[in-house]
């Protein structure tokens, strides 16, 4: 019988296994994960799970029963350490021969370059989130290094847990100004400051040191921040080192063609945060660290494994959300500090708005939406319909203005 081995048992791996069954794959499916826990989802780790308002049971991706029912063999607790001669080798010595191999080993948090004395955390795994949650329940001060989405979410969650002394440090003067233009990015700094987080933007960290049972973060302007807990949220690194000497080329992720198939090794595919594939619309290699991409790429790879005569390209419209305090922030398609943009106010402009991004010709290519569900849906629809002529920024602006008008009488300020 044919056999697909999937390495990495988080959302990318689990969804590939499920999508293979949905595509009526009849062979064996073996799902390998290094962690000795049932597959779970990551977005809640910096949000509800960290806060303690949801439990592990609610963030599971696959139960033992569901795996057994759908014929997915779980091999948990042993890392894959190499690939040779058409087989995956596990740390415990097991060899798993494959007909197709799906690499879904994701990414890990970029480690603290300032050392990791006790009290310094990252957030990537369930263990990380449990440890951090325990530390935060013991009280502050908390210093978050890095004001990206994960850092911002941790700061927001910590405040919600009752911490009062929370500082976010970022060397960029206006964090997020690479993905958003500056005045828009500034709104998020203001959001944190308005909720009581101390923001120290435009200053770098030079050192983290232990100081009499506590910690100190030393900044490059000479100031020193006392901390009980430090969270380092400075990005992620793809888990591809285990593929060295396997004949599967990597370059900051597994290099794949537009079908998400390895550029060299036949019957090897990659999905999720570890995949660096040729985006046929952007005409370059792209690697995304977004939940929805992992799910869509899983469906694409499952289709391609089961339909070798009808290969599909993976050309997603990017989508990432971040939930901070009671704000819902979403990015769709291409956004960037150097793109032309217009801001459209929602019903309550102090908290709901959209920013539409266009290319040089005014074609609508991406958006930020904040606390405005209708705008999110409108923008995603406009970007995901390849058959219809592309929308202009003006078209979408018109749609959003009508949506706001329509929602005014009842919807203003709702939720």
């Amino acid at each position: 019988m044919a056999r697909t081995v999937i390495v990495g048992a988080s959302v990318g791996g689990v969804r590939t296994a499920q999508a293979l069954r949905a595509a009526e794959y009849e062979g064996e499916i073996v799902l390998v994960g290094d962690e000795n826990v049932l597959p779970y989802d990551k977005p809640p780790l910096s949000k509800a799970l960290l806060a303690g308002t949801t439990s592990v049971d609610n963030v599971g991706l696959l139960t033992r029963e569901a795996a057994a029912q759908t014929g997915i063999e779980l091999r948990l607790g042993s890392a894959a350490v190499g690939v040779a001669d058409g087989a995956v080798r596990l740390a415990d010595g097991t060899e798993l021969p494959y007909d197709d191999l799906v690499i879904a080993t994701g990414a890990r948090a970029r480690p603290s370059p300032w050392g990791t004395p006790p009290g310094v955390h990252v957030v990537r795994s369930l263990d990380d989130a449990h440890r951090l949650g325990t530390a935060l329940r013991a009280g502050g001060p908390l210093v978050v290094i890095g004001a990206g989405f994960i850092g911002a979410e941790v700061a927001a969650t910590a405040l919600g847990m009752g911490l009062t002394d929370v500082t976010v440090v970022d060397p960029v003067a206006v964090p997020l100004s690479r993905v958003l233009n500056e005045e828009v990015a500034g709104v998020f700094g203001d959001l944190h400051a308005g909720r009581g987080v101390t923001t120290r933007f435009g200053v770098g960290v030079t050192d983290v040191r232990e100081a009499g049972g506590a910690l100190e973060v030393v900044l490059d302007d000479g100031s020193v921040l006392p901390a009980a807990t430090i969270v380092v949220g400075i990005g992620a690194i793809p888990n591809d080192e285990w593929l060295a000497h396997s004949g599967i080329p990597t370059d900051g992720g597994v290099l794949c063609d537009s079908h998400c198939s390895s550029v060299e090794a036949p019957h090897v595919w990659a999905v999720g945060d570890v995949a660096r594939w040729w985006h046929p619309v952007y005409d370059r290699y792209v690697r995304l660290e977004h939940w929805t991409n992992a799910v869509e790429q899983a469906v694409c790879v499952a289709h391609n494994i089961t339909h070798p005569e009808d290969l599909r390209s993976h050309a997603p419209v990017e989508y990432v959300w971040s939930d901070q305090y009671d704000w819902k922030i979403q990015l769709v398609g291409r956004t960037g500090g150097d793109l032309a943009h217009v801001r459209v106010d929602g019903a309550d402009p102090a908290r709901s708005f959209a920013v539409l991004y266009g290319d040089g010709t005014g074609r609508f290519i991406g958006a930020l939406t904040v606390n405005w569900p209708k705008a999110l849906v409108t923008c995603r629809r406009a970007l995901s319909r390849p058959s219809t002529p592309p929308s202009t920024v003006g078209d979408v602006q018109g749609l959003l203005n009508s949506a706001r008008q329509a929602s005014r009488p009842t919807g203003a300020g709702a939720r």
Partner: protein, 65 residues
């Protein structure tokens, strides 16, 4: 035939379902999923199931009727 069910408490308005099957799912002004219809025929079932599986908070299920 199959039916779609939505957990309105769990829904966070991420709108992946709308992108997956906009003839079945919409999102209202409050950011909660709206089922445009609940009965799904066999021919469209796998497409709607795929849309349901794309929900980040597993708020959607497709079940036998």
């Amino acid at each position: 035939m199959a039916v779609v069910k939505a957990d309105l408490e769990a829904c966070q308005g991420y709108a992946n379902c709308v992108v997956g099957a906009e003839d079945v799912f919409d999102i209202d002004d409050g950011g909660i999923v709206v089922l445009l219809r609940t009965t799904i025929n066999d021919a469209e079932r796998s497409r709607v199931e795929e849309a349901a599986r794309s929900c980040p908070v597993s708020a959607l299920v497709v079940e036998d009727q």
